[in-house]
Symmetry: C2
Subunit: 325 residues, 2 copies
């Protein structure tokens, strides 16, 4: 297995990607790594078995224009993409700009034939033990057509069935009401296409308050709304975890209370912490390209690496192509 890691993208600096990479090597010593970045900063990996250091001179800004990004050949992202192609790698991971990663991946690694627009897809925790659902698109796109929503539904369905070995995943369309006639202009147009599509198990509209209960498998949305959903859930979970922490710190009695209940409470925090979510797969391009959280810390970037490992292991791209054919 060959991984390319953009060590420089992301808001949290190279310490986060270095820390995560070190832990990843321990866990998976047989993976061959191409680490892209400032060679001085990466010196700690020198003379390491299975690791190639590749120099990049610049770092793309998070708000870079995608076309500008493509021209900046010395940037860590563009060097990563070229390294990926030159070495026939299995997985590319970056915490850099979503727009730049998306356009570089589409332009260089190319889309899988038949796919109009790739989407970002990842798993969400639910209240049920070990039950997750996936959401697509989480923000690779800014606005979408009904045909693109249909493709997202198919991609999400295939992703879920491969990753969770579920034959006939339940697909829902994110909406402002459960009735068929509810929705945004584009989701209303997409509804009949999803309903008529024989390759997915479409169950109708679902409101944003319900997916976390764990009764659905795939949540389909345009990229803009999917991004709002992702970040609303993430933000609320983070704020509530902080509130719980503060509530236990109040006085000696609450601290005693914490001692008795911390196991369960920490499990909740852990489960709902989006640092553990593992980045999102850019589904529809011809390779395993993972977008890690822009503000990835060690744990978060490590989850993205682990997610990439798992997706390469299940051979997601080839299985996806076979399903499409």
């Amino acid at each position: 297995m060959k991984f390319v890691i953009d060590m420089m993208g992301g808001d949290s600096g190279i310490e986060a990607t270095i820390g995560a990479t070190k832990e990843f090597i321990k866990r998976h010593p047989n993976v061959e790594l191409f680490l892209i970045g400032d060679l001085n900063a990466l010196e700690t990996f020198k003379n390491h078995n299975n690791i190639h250091l590749v120099e990049s001179k610049t770092v793309l800004k998070m708000d870079v224009d995608p076309l500008t990004a493509l021209k900046e050949k010395d940037s860590s992202l563009m060097v990563a993409i070229e390294t990926y192609l030159a070495n026939n790698c299995d997985c590319l991971i970056s915490a850099g700009s979503t727009g730049a990663l998306l356009s570089a991946a589409i332009f260089k690694i190319k889309r899988i034939p038949g796919i109009t627009r790739p989407c970002l897809i990842t798993s969400f925790p639910t209240i049920k033990k070990n039950k997750k659902f996936v959401v697509c698109d989480l923000g690779a796109n800014n606005s979408n057509t009904k045909e693109e929503l249909l493709q997202f539904a198919k991609m999400g369905s295939i992703y879920y069935s491969i990753v969770y070995q579920e034959e006939n995943p339940k697909v829902y369309l994110l909406s402002n009401g459960t009735e068929e006639e509810k929705g945004s202009p584009v989701s209303k147009e997409a509804y009949p296409l999803l309903k008529d599509c024989k390759s997915i198990n479409f169950k109708g509209n679902i409101e944003a308050r319900d997916p976390l209960y764990g009764d659905i498998d795939v949540l389909v949305s345009d990229g803009y709304t999917g991004n709002i959903f992702l970040k609303s859930v993430e933000g609320t979970a983070k704020v509530m975890s902080k509130m719980i922490k503060d509530a236990f710190k109040k006085n000696v009695l609450t601290m005693i209370g914490y001692l008795f209940s911390k196991k369960g409470i920490n499990e909740i925090k852990e489960k709902m912490d989006y640092k553990n979510v593992g980045g999102a797969l850019l589904m529809g391009v011809n390779g395993v390209v993972i977008k890690a959280h822009g503000s990835s810390d060690v744990r978060s970037f490590l989850s993205a690496l682990e997610n990439g490992y798992k997706l390469v292991e299940v051979d997601i791209v080839n299985k996806f192509k076979k399903e499409l054919a």
Copy 2:
């Protein structure tokens, strides 16, 4: 103060509205109430000072078409609207269909001159003590133009300054990134209008994960995305509260832990429970029209009544008209 209450709308049945109304009467014995509904079911209010019972024969379905709704003159909502107008009331509250309430209010109570599209607005809790922010539009509209987003920004700003006595509230636009060029097609168009508007204190874009930290006053969004935001936050908060409850129930030790920490934990649940949110004001129509949560229970409907009381007390409609002029 004169209130009209649609006792029949809502999914939870008339028990919820009756329970809430009884408590509301205790708290505010001087408010004159017009209760609309099935007279047999409302018998408990018979011969009560300050209460008028008005019969309605049908109940609109939650998914009723707004035009059909307008024609169903015997429905509790349409009787409520006529009662409101005939008695020159101050406030109308319904937990029925949003679309029907919106179109009936616009058609019968009318918009305030200058307002193109009313919006649903309500307050959200934050991690900071006693600090709230408001969101508009929460779902009165399904898609909006840039000019409508500008009007929402103005309405939200005026609402916040009246309700929270804050002179220059900080207005943000909900977006998928903080940079100026981020956003949905319509929010990108709206950005320069908000930036150039001298009557609001526009601070730029904000991502959906950040408002709950309590540093903003007004969050502006198109109605569809605002509805997704509302329900994502609501759903996540509810699921996490349930998880916490379950964690404490695990065994004797965790139950002891709960005894020591329950005050703080219950405060969090209380704060983040959207049953306490109090319904949303349909801002921009010429009266205090409150949309209560469709699945309102006693507590939730009571919050909506209290919210209406507060908004009438601060004379929101006349103050809003003055600000607009």
